[in-house]
């Protein structure tokens, strides 16, 4: 499905899922002129929040982007167990994670985040300096390619 970031924000907000936006969309909200197709979030790992997230994912007809092409739905157990969940939804790709960067947990990510207003919604995003740090730690080609733009954006902020 075609990604619709604002509708995904609305869905997460409407379902009361505690999360922090990280990755490319966070970088865009922080002012970096980059392109991305998926929404990356870190979710709060408490049981109640996971239940809200599972219910929402069911509503969005989410399934794992499985390389073997299997139809695998996210469950409470999978979201508790898997630190990275690469999902497709009827509002576009959604990567739901428990940890990023240098094994940053929910508390670490929240500490490095702030709230921005997007079309009337309060959206919590990872700050640009931490996005850069997480890309440095990930050290993949695609992350390294993005670093010059992210660093210059941070300098210009």
């Amino acid at each position: 499905m075609k990604p619709d970031f604002l509708e995904l924000f609305r869905a997460l907000d409407g379902a009361g899922v505690e999360h922090v936006v990280v990755g490319g969309v966070a970088a865009i909200l922080e002012g970096a002129p980059i392109a991305t197709l998926d929404l990356d979030i870190v979710y709060q790992p408490d049981h109640d929040n996971l239940q809200r997230l599972v219910s929402l994912l069911d509503e969005l007809e989410a399934h794992y982007r499985d390389p073997a092409g299997r139809e695998i739905q996210p469950t409470l157990e999978r979201l508790e167990t898997n630190e990275v969940n690469l999902l497709d939804t009827n509002l576009g790709p959604l990567d739901a994670m428990q940890r990023i960067g240098a094994n940053w947990s929910w508390d670490d990510v929240v500490e490095r985040s702030h709230v921005v207003r997007v079309s009337g919604l309060e959206v919590r995003v990872l700050d640009l300096a931490s996005i850069i740090e997480s890309k440095l730690i990930a050290n993949r080609d695609k992350d390294r390619a993005m670093l010059p733009v992210l660093r210059r954006t941070l300098e210009e902020q």
């Binding site: 509708e7 909200l29 002129p33 207003r117 997007v118 210059r152």
Partner: protein, 80 residues
Amino acid sequence: MGVMGNQSKQDLPPVGDGKASEVERHSETTAEPTLEGAFAADGVDLTLIRWMLERSPTERLRAAQELIDATWALRTGRET
């Protein structure tokens, strides 16, 4: 479901109003454009970064979404 929809285009404000100020219009008639200072030493387009930073988070998201919408329309051969 019940979460699907396409309200985003209606709710997001336009990116810029397309109008130049008096000073900008005057400058357009007397000055020549320059690339000096447009690019960082590593080749990053600083003008594009400044364009984004001048916008609100809502407008930045809209710009990103419009890029996706246009790309999707090309991929599927349809208007969005």
